[in-house]
């Protein structure tokens, strides 16, 4: 290889620089979102049949279609429990009012819910 030594040395330096963040954080525990178990449990209890963390956006989309188009405003979950289909009520239902924000902030997702829906007053973005 023409000028092989220089190329390989540069490659090693490049890979080293590129992976600094991984080595820097190696062994340190991930802080994780500040979600308390009660919040998670409550959210899961809305619909125990699905993984609420992964599938709540799809569930909310179904809620929206039922509420706006069919005029059905009450959700009866797979265990027969009724919930008002309202993300305002859901977000304001736990005492800290951080049910949505705690996870969304950590994951840096910014759903546009609150650009129209009225966010519970105590909630911090």
């Amino acid at each position: 290889m023409y000028k092989g030594g220089k190329i390989i040395a540069s490659l090693i330096i490049f890979v080293g620089l590129f992976t600094i963040p991984f080595f820097y954080n190696m062994g340190k525990a991930n802080a994780g979102p500040e979600v308390n178990l009660q919040q998670l449990e409550y959210m899961q209890s809305v619909e125990p049949a699905i993984d609420m963390i992964a599938e709540h956006p799809q569930l909310f989309n179904q809620w929206r279609n039922e509420a706006v188009r069919e005029g059905k405003t009450v959700y009866v979950n797979s265990e027969g429990q009724s919930f008002d289909m309202s993300i305002e009520k859901l977000a304001g239902s736990d005492s800290s009012k951080q049910l949505c924000a705690s996870c969304h902030d950590y994951l840096a997702v910014q759903p546009t819910c609150w650009s129209c829906h009225i966010e519970p007053k105590e909630a911090v973005k």
Binding site: A49, Q58, R64, E66, V68, E70, Y75, V76, S78, S82
Partner: protein, 266 residues
């Protein structure tokens, strides 16, 4: 190792097919609907009808305050912004004159007080709504109870519905409305810029068993009910008294009737 062009093309083709097939295997079989076991219900005391309609009794709208009170009741509940200029104005229910309400071609010798008499106007919730046909995203649709409603989530702001509506019942948010709302009401969401909005016959209040906000504030000037129910007050008025509708010649079959003769000379 060297490959010729034919081999190269065949291999890339195979790889592409594998990639696409793999993607379908992962995403194609994922269920679209979730929680099939769950059900949806209406609230116990919800008001139900097969065709909601309104009668505007013009004899009850005499003073400026009669109009203002009704408009404020609606606009404050639904977070309708006040941009303070007519270009950006958003209106769900408002006051307009005879000519704009019932169309041109009227008798030019009509007395001034009649010609310029104000009328309470709002979305007519037509039986054949042209806005619904115009909407490319089905954001505007007709509900089973006759209400022409909007799903603001789906509105892309094309404004075809505004062009299609012969009554000017729709307004467009050219700017973010939030800063222009005096006091945000928690009863109904706000809108964002780029979304059309209009009167929804207070379907969110009907779902809770309440009357529309304007009807409550009108002190009897607005009468609301089910047109398909022969015992409802609106049906009785519409079938026994002389009422007019806006631009009936267009065939949209508005659900808002104007009782113009007053109670006595019906």
């Amino acid at each position: 190792m060297s490959i010729n062009r034919r081999q190269f093309l065949r291999r890339t083709g195979m790889l592409t097919a594998l990639g696409l097939g793999g993607a379908i295997a992962f995403t194609g079989f994922r269920k679209k609907e979730i929680a099939a076991a769950a059900e949806y219900a209406i609230e116990q005391d919800a008001e139900l009808a097969s065709r909601w309609a309104m009668v505007v009794d013009m004899s009850k709208f005499k003073t400026e305050d009669d109009f203002k009170r009704v408009q404020e009741a609606c606009h404050s509940i639904h977070n309708v912004p006040d941009f303070k200029n007519t270009k950006d104005e958003i209106k769900w229910i408002w006051k307009d004159d005879y000519e704009h309400t019932f169309g041109g071609g009227q008798n030019k010798y009509l007395e001034e007080h009649l010609n310029e008499a104000p009328f309470m106007v709002l979305c007519n919730h037509c039986e054949n709504p042209p806005c619904v046909k115009a909407c490319p995203t089905q954001s505007t649709f007709k509900r089973r109870d006759g209400i022409v409603a909007m799903d603001f989530h789906r509105c892309i702001g094309c404004r075809f519905c505004m062009a299609a509506c012969p009554f000017g019942a729709r307004s467009f948010n050219f700017k973010d409305p939030r800063p222009y709302i005096n006091e945000v009401s928690p009863e109904y969401p706000t809108r964002t810029a780029g979304v059309v909005e209009k009167c929804n016959f207070c379907y969110e209040r009907l779902a809770k068993g309440e009357q529309p906000a304007c009807v409550e504030a009108s002190k009897g000037g607005l009468i609301f009910g089910d047109l398909d129910n022969p015992n409802s007050e609106v049906r009785k008025i519409v079938s026994t008294k002389f009422t007019i509708r806006r631009k009936p010649e267009l065939g949209t079959q508005p659900s808002v009737y104007y009782l113009v003769g007053g109670d006595d000379n019906a």
